[in-house]
Symmetry: D2
């Protein structure tokens, strides 16, 4: 089969690889129909994720069709259309039982990282019954690819952790795909304001279209001044960090109101300053989270009821054999205006 | 009347001052019977709290007897014995209505800070009806002084924010009066382990007596190694920071388990490093809080029912005229083994 | 001044009454500009509320302008436009401090019940600072009358108690003004389904327009069968009872899914059967509540941000001197299709 | 093997039965070492549980040793000592994923009910990995039998659902084994009062020893009068119903304070009156629940840390061949003063 293989920092190629095989009774083999590329894949290619070794097939998102299941899998059978969660979850360990699938002792984020992933014709999914979701009848399968990672990440790490509530004021720092996913799902709770902050005019325009009540271009405005103006000089109830660098995390500290939450979504490579000398008496919370995808069933319901339209995050489409172009387009998002690129398989 | 007055960094004296007078219909004048000294008073004397100006009578804790009430005060009358909250709360502003009395727009921590405090024969209490609590019949009034600040602080900022639950594992960094208050009130929730961490052998001995299940002297042991040993190499569900310096806040980051909470109680003067490069995917929360004293009624109930004995925090007793000795004893706690010193008035 | 006075069961008249006067330092006198009639007023007139004595001016909703304030009132002054809460709250008692304003020991629902109410030219409001809300600049004051009672009631007793969440399924039994208020505010949380159940075709049509995803006319369909069909034979996560009779409460028991909530909003005059023999092992909650109006500030924000349009609940308008017609129109709602009638004062 | 078999209403016998065999890859065969009898077993014998058919081996509690595991079971192996949960849970269905194991679509309470149970030499446990718990090293295995059903039931259905908190007032109606389990586990949260209500003087004496702060014998006192006296005429924050008849459920309605919770634990055979005409405006919650045993890991921790001593619930011991005497002793609890009887196997 064809597969996009990581060959060490800066190197990848579309290679011929043997078909995956069942390795445990709980496994399933899924024939991919669509996958996508994540910012994390770019991190791996930069060499930022040493736990991902050369030879690994990349990708942790996608939809497909069950090809084969292990002896212990009873809820799926050949031919079932499934959504793949970026998080593999055994359903049995202490973490899984507490809803922290991200920390599953034999799962978590392993696809396209510690085991071969979804940017291929086929993929082996461990713990299939608790890591796959049936595609609802009549669903737009392409759109569901957004539910593998990006929408639960924006929702769980940003909106749920951020305790967004009716009437809340929210600031989202970073209007990339994850920030936009947070923007879309924050609206589930009817906040009174959602202020989007970025330095890319195109993305801010998308944000406006997606429901942001205000947009701040930090290339030309001071975010703190603007947010304070919008919130009677109080700050926001919830500041969502969706970039992953010290500067944006510090910005969130300046934006949050007493009693508010800073919900970190960004993947950080270095430490940041925490201004406890200012925050110690402000009754704030700061949260971190690797997405657990516990909200996937709920998100499927909101898609089915029409309250969430994931398709609007898709800007480009490719075929698996065009994988190099797909990476190139996604990697130069500032120029190409790419949000999510969908890869049709084969 | 006699009053302990701050005269600028390093300077204080027991002065003669005029009696306080009612300034608003919601005020009460309280004749003090007992007060105490707080670590914060030492901070003021070091010059760390510039919002406290020279000439200020210090003190924000104590019990006393109502001497006089303003026209709008109906729930207290002359002769009532009252517990004074360190936090003044109007009960009307948005923050008060949300239970964030610490951020009351006309109150908060003002006693002995922005207005004259309790280390005196008399004190004026603004917003009396929502900042004083009736002393229950038969209560040990001296012990209740511990409920003005230290016990609600340990409980709200440490235990409540830290989400201590039955079966939880808890580490408390800092066995001073506040850390010990957290230790006493954490036991309300029956955690399975409470590990106390300090470098003062005497305080660790007190902690053992107060219910710590393990004590770590960081002068002689590595706290991280020891805590990991006690928790199957997982870390604690709740790490309470009760010191207020970068080193102890960083220690908490190393102690907390995935899914856990770092509850900051300490007063910080400088920023600290936040290791987001390690914590971003560990599903942790970090909380800060200035005590709101919303838990005072509950704490009074647990004292009345015998489940909490605040008196054990008191190590020394003085009279108001011995205020200088009291400060000296409290200030040299490592030598004197002082936890809380109670000042009898007059 | 003119006032609508209750003279015992079945009797009311628009009488001339003396102007109200300040009775306590926390009082305010409000010159009414608009008020309305509540289903509860009809209950009083039927003689169902014996705690309301003849001679009482009715009404517990409305907006107006501050005429005079007591000595202890500092946050309002003459000329301020205010929204009147149907619940008077002292802000000081144990219940108020816990957000249960409905059970305020010197307040609660007293307006137009135990003290004179708002269907008059002027009204005295006790505990003014914690029972009135400033009208935001530029607000549609008429629409805000819906925030005195009906919208917080539908929201707090129905939606909040019912724990409506993104993706939830909700059934609302009763499409009167309160049921419709629950319908409007349930949408703050993006449930996947809201099924409205009534026997009045007109009200169901309004419900459809207000966002119901399905409507069941129990005159012609079996509600249980229909709801089960809509929910894969599981029942709803949240059943809101907005009528107040045993039959509708029993219907809710048949509609609720395992793990779900029955949120009672209706005012009940008699006991109902609770089928514990069916429910004991279904992990359900049943909640009751007299509105606390703790959500009023939040509702004001959602109105200001345009996420809630209360004006759509208003069907008829009258002047104070037409009070008899107003009651007649509101009392014959099935014929007149009245939802809320607004009374302009004077 | 020997097994206690139900033969229809009123009939049971200790029969010879074939050894159970693995039926699915997730099954385990457990060699029992200890089991017990539950009040529910008596209900079955009375014919109250028609879903339990003649020929069924009874029992849903116990500890034992793994004899054999199916192909999909990786976390247990032959020889492991295990605690059996009364609730079988697949860990995969929607209910299990939400922590409602009691409603597992292929599990729930099936042991000794819909499939053969634990009052036998061996038992087949479906969904073994998520329905068994490893016995901690050094544990008193006999005492752990109390964790199969009774302690999680008292804790989850009574204490957790009842939202017991530090300082709370609690009334428990019914001092049988379940009521006493609620009493023991309510103390995890340090309530200020726990009032035990029953008509059996012996059980009330046990309750006193187990930590009840007051006991009311309803044979000689009026429970409502006494509870009101103990709570300043307010009622209790939490009323736990641990009997299962209309009279005790109605008593709870009379005991609960405004804002309180009635947590139903009892198994009800008939409907009860719900006094909505009194409760509609009192902001109360009523909860029902079949135990989920989600709290088993936490309870194991509290046993290990010494905060909970389950052994004190055991009053009698028998061998499997004495099963008839064991049932007789347990069935005549008023005379024999039996709480829980432990059956040693073989």
């Amino acid at each position: 089969m064809k597969a996009l293989v990581y060959h060490g920092p800066g190197k990848k190629s579309l290679d011929e690889r043997p078909l995956p095989e069942l390795a445990a009774p709980g496994d399933a083999i899924v024939k991919m129909t669509r996958t996508t590329i994540c910012g994390t894949d770019l991190h791996i290619l930069k060499g930022d994720v040493p736990t991902c070794e050369p030879g690994r097939i990349l990708g942790h998102e996608g939809v497909g069709v069950i090809e084969q299941v292990g002896a212990a899998v009873s809820s799926f059978k050949q031919g079932d259309h499934v959504l793949i969660s970026c998080i593999s979850s055994c359903g049995k360990c202490d973490y899984c039982r507490r809803g922290m699938y991200s920390h599953c002792t034999t799962g978590g984020w392993i696809l396209g990282h510690r085991i071969d992933g979804t940017q291929a014709d086929y993929v082996r999914i461990p713990h299939a019954e608790t890591s796959l979701y049936p595609v609802p009848a009549g669903a737009d399968e392409e759109a569901l690819v957004m539910l593998s990672d990006i929408l639960p990440t924006g929702f769980e790490c940003g909106v749920l952790n951020g305790k967004v509530q009716p009437g809340s004021t929210v600031a989202i720092v970073g209007a990339g795909p994850i920030g936009l996913a947070a923007l879309l799902t924050a609206q589930f709770y009817s906040p009174s304001q959602i202020v989007m902050i970025d330095r890319d005019a195109n993305r801010l325009e998308v944000a406006k279209r997606f429901g942001a009540t205000a947009c701040i271009d930090i290339g030309s405005s001071d975010a703190v001044t603007e947010v304070m103006k919008l919130t009677d000089q109080t700050g926001v109830d919830c500041a969502i960090e969706a970039v992953g660098i010290p500067a944006t995390f510090e910005l969130c500290q300046a934006l949050v109101a007493p009693g508010g939450v800073i919900a970190n979504v960004g993947v950080h490579g270095v430490k940041a300053d925490l201004h406890l000398e200012k925050l110690w008496d402000r009754n704030v919370s700061i949260t971190t989270r690797l997405v657990d995808t516990v909200s996937t069933p709920m998100l499927l319901k909101t898609v089915r009821s029409g309250r969430l339209d994931p398709a609007q995050l898709i800007t480009h489409r490719f075929h698996l054999e065009e994988m190099e172009s797909a990476y190139d387009t996604f990697g130069r998002a500032a120029d190409t205006h790419a949000l999510k690129v969908v890869i049709q398989v084969p």
